[in-house]
Every structure is written in C-alpha cells, then in structure tokens.
Amino acid sequence: MLPFIAKRLVRLVATLLAVSFLTFLLVNLLPGDAINALIPIDAQQDREFVEQVREEWGLNDPMIVRYGRWLGDAVQGNFGDSIVTSRTVSSEITHRLPVTAELMIVTVLFSVMLAIPLGVMAAYREGSRVDQVISGMAQLFLSIPGFVAGLLMIYIFAMKLGWLPATGWNRFSNGLLDNLKTVILPALSLALIEIAVYTRVVRSDVMNTLQENYVLSARAKGLGNRYILFRHCLRPSSLTLITVVGLNIGTLLGGTVVVEFLFAMPGLGKRLLDAIFQRDFMMVQGITVLIATIYVLVNTAVDLIYMVVDPRIRKAD
C-alpha cells in the first residue's frame, strides 16, 4: 500500500509541474502585452518608464527563467501580484475559494443524495414505469446546460415567485439561512447534469450487482430488499460513483465559472473570467493552476479512497 501511495504522489507532483508549466506557457502567449495592463496606452510614450516597469515585473527575462522564478515563489505560497488590483493573487484566491468550494460541495452532496435513491430504485425496478420516468428524466437533465437551468430558475424563483435572490452572495458568516438562500439556485443549476450522470452510473452499476451471486445468497438468508440494496449492492456501486464524481469535478469546475458569472457570485470562476478580460495574467495563471490542481488532487484522492473502500485493492498492493 505504501509504495502505491508513493508512486501516486510522484505522479501527482510530475503532473502538477507539467500543468503549471503549460499554464505559464499559455498565459504568457496571451496577446496584448502585459504592459498594456500595467501602464495606460497614452503613458507608454515614455520609453524609459516602460522599460523600467518591464524590468520591475521581470517581463524582459526569457520565459523559462520567469517560470522558474514563478514556480519558486509559488511553492512558497506566493503566486505574485494581480496586475490590475495589485493585491496578491493568493489573498484573492483565499478570499474567493470558499465561495466556489461551498458551491461545489453543496452541488455534489445534493446530487449524490438524490441520485443514489433514484438510481437504486430505477435499477431495482428495471424496465418498469418508475425506471422509465427516472431514466427519461436523467437523459433530459443531461441535456440542460448550467446557464439554461440557471436562467430558468432565476426567471421562475427570483423574478416570478420572488422567493430567492436572483444574484449576489451572502457569506457564511452573515448567517446560515442567508447564505443558503444565495447558494440554492446556483447549486441547483449545476446539479441537474450531475444528478443525471450519477443516477445513470448508480442505475447501471446496481443492475450489474443485482446479478451477482452474493445478492442471491443475501436473499436466501432472508434479508430485506432495502437492506440488500443499500448494504450489499450500493457498496460496490459506490466505488464507481466515487470515480465518476472525481472525473466529473472537471466539468463541475467549468460549470462554476458559468454559474458564478450568471449569478454574479464572488467565486474563483468569476474572478478568472474578470482576469481574462482584464489581461491580468498573474491572476489567470494562479487561478488556472489552482483549478487544475484541485482537479488532479481530487482524482488522486479518489484513487486513495478506492483503496479504503475496496479491500481487494488494499490487499493487492
């Protein structure tokens, strides 16, 4: 087990290095020289001043040198300063990460809690009316992008019914209820696709598990259907579900950008968009690397969870 973890960690570090370098490469190829963001165009007549600023920001060094410098700072938690707001990137990230994290956690928890019973029910009654309704709904949800769902919900729940705010964000510290009010609609918009994906996974997995001999022997022991479904079938299915949740974090992270934009939430995604429009390359770099890091970390964590849940793998390594 330990060599397995060690191998995973080495791969993790290698991937993160490659990811950060690729991001650096991309961001530094951004058209519109960063100098435009630093100095207003009309002030750029002063060549000497421009040169001085370039030197100050290290824009004259070769890219690999700048990457090395950035990486050296990054591992110490310093992702540089925002060119636009001149606050540090890391302070902006720590300020905004909780918003995105809460949105994602609420979305995943809500989706999993709904998808498990739906998927199990559909699998148990395979081919029945219940299954047809659940599977049909999953297929429909799979086709509704977050921005369409979000807009529809804003229209219905905020504009027509006036139950919830259309946009904005109340921090957790402002009270749980106010916080929840602002997270419900964005989370629901993101949840549709997640629910659909998870429900389909749970359904097909439980359907396979129901064919297993140990399910038959559990029946022959006189265990109740619900007990068999949730205590015997769901555990193997949960392995697949965990993997899919991990892989789907990528889509979800992309989704948060859109939903944070739509609901004007002060999260990482919204900040990334703003930074892209402002050519704030330090910020773009910091956030993109962070998002990719989250994605890679989650999937490494999934691998590790796998070992905890499936004793056979634990044994094998």
């Binding site: 490659a18 991001t23 991309l26 086709s143 992008p145 950008v257 994605y295």
Partner: protein, 282 residues
Amino acid sequence: MAAGTGSRMSFFTRICAGWLIVIVLGAIFADLIPGLKDPNYQGFLFGDGATNERPSWNHLMGTDNNSRDILARIVYGARVSLVVSMTAVVMGSVFGGFFGALVGFVRGKTDATIMAAVDVILAFPGLVLLLTVVTLLGRRDLMVIAAVVGFLSIPPYTRVARATALAVSRREFVMAARAIGTRKRTILFREIIPNCLPTLMAFALVNAAVIILLEGALAFLGLSVEPPTASWGNMVNAARVDLTINVWPAIWPSLALVFTVYSLNNVGDHLRRSKAVRSAAL
C-alpha cells in the same frame, strides 16, 4: 437509419433523429430557406418592427432586444454548433483516433510520451482550458473557435482509442496476424483501426453533445464567436438582460440547444444499445 442499425427505433428516437437532420439541413442551407429573415437585420433602425416583439406571423418566434428575427438567428446559430461540434468530432477521431490506436498497439516509449501529454491536457477542466486558449488567440471567428475546440478534442479521443486498441490487440485475430508475420503497419490499418472505429463513433456522438454544451457555455460567457454572429449561447446571454421584459428570446435558443443535445444523447444511447445486441450476437 432504423434499418441500418438493425434494431427498431422507438417513435421518440425517430423524432430525435429527425430533429438532428432538420438542424443539420437548416444550418447548411440557411441561405436558401424561403422567407427566412436576415439574422442580423435590425428592423427597428428602419422603422420596421420593434425590439422584443412577441411571436407573430411575421416573426414566428418574435424578435430579440435588437429587433432581430429570433427564428433566423436560431437557424444561423445552428451553424456555429454544427461546425464546432463537427470539427471536434473529425479532428478528434482522425488525429486522436490514429494516435490512440497507434500507441495502444505499439506501446513502449511512444505510448508513455503521448499519454503523458494527454494526461496533462486532460488535467485541465475543459471549459477552463478552452477559456484561456480562446482568449489567448484574440480573434474569435468561427474558424478559430472550431479549430481550438477541435484541437482540444484530440486528447480525449486519444485516450478512448488507446484503451480500445489495447483490448483489440489482445484479440485472437491480431495474435494470429502477428504469428503469421504480417507487417505491423498492415495490422494497424487492417485490424486495429477498423476495430476501434465502432467505439470511437459511439464516443463521437456523446462527445458532439458535450462539445455543443461547451460551445454554448463559452458563447454564454461572451467568449465564442463575436457578435453580431448568432450562436445559441450568445443569444441566451443577450436575452438575459431583458428577462423581465420578454423571456422568449432566452427560451427559444435554450430549447433549441437542449433539444439538440437531448437528441444526440438519445440517438447515441439507441445506437449503443443496438450495437450491444449485435456484438453479443457475434
């Protein structure tokens, strides 16, 4: 189509397939559709119609907040979805399919190198990488967007093709071909690639749906094709501001998008099911 797949399409799946055909034909021959308005004609500038008009005989779906005909914009907007998703499918399956089949068959160092690169690119959430690259390129006409999306589609196809090629390489007929000394290149083109195609095609249908959603999101953020070119995503975004005044300019393109993606998934599921039956029969 139903006859070709060997298993019966349900009525609903037929409707979905029909819708896809309508969308594709409409997008290709948009200029030839009689009575279809100019998608960029702003009637109110010429005293001809108003903004946010309700549906009428003149404008079947009404007009948007620039008094442009929504139906025309949806038909032309389909072009963006179509071109982007088709480019992704073609580039993905040609390049990704080839690289994947190649490295899955020959293994070794090439495999390790290419898959490492694929892993790094796939370590980025799709939309985030797309956002950054599209912004980087500055110009945002349809060809640029399609090329970027197409290029970023190569890694996932590579991964799928490689996994399939690995499985195919272990099949008896490949072993047999190797045993009688067939050249590797011949095996790759005659045995491996043809046997990867069905899986790739099934993946392509699902992927086309994903790409349409991705382009929609990008357009909604204002980062796909530049206005005034219509795309379903930027139509929804434009209509967002006037949601209180008129919700229809947001509803129509949303419906078009949702139903197209739904149809792709539905037909894709159907094909996969009928293929499952066929491979079980073999």
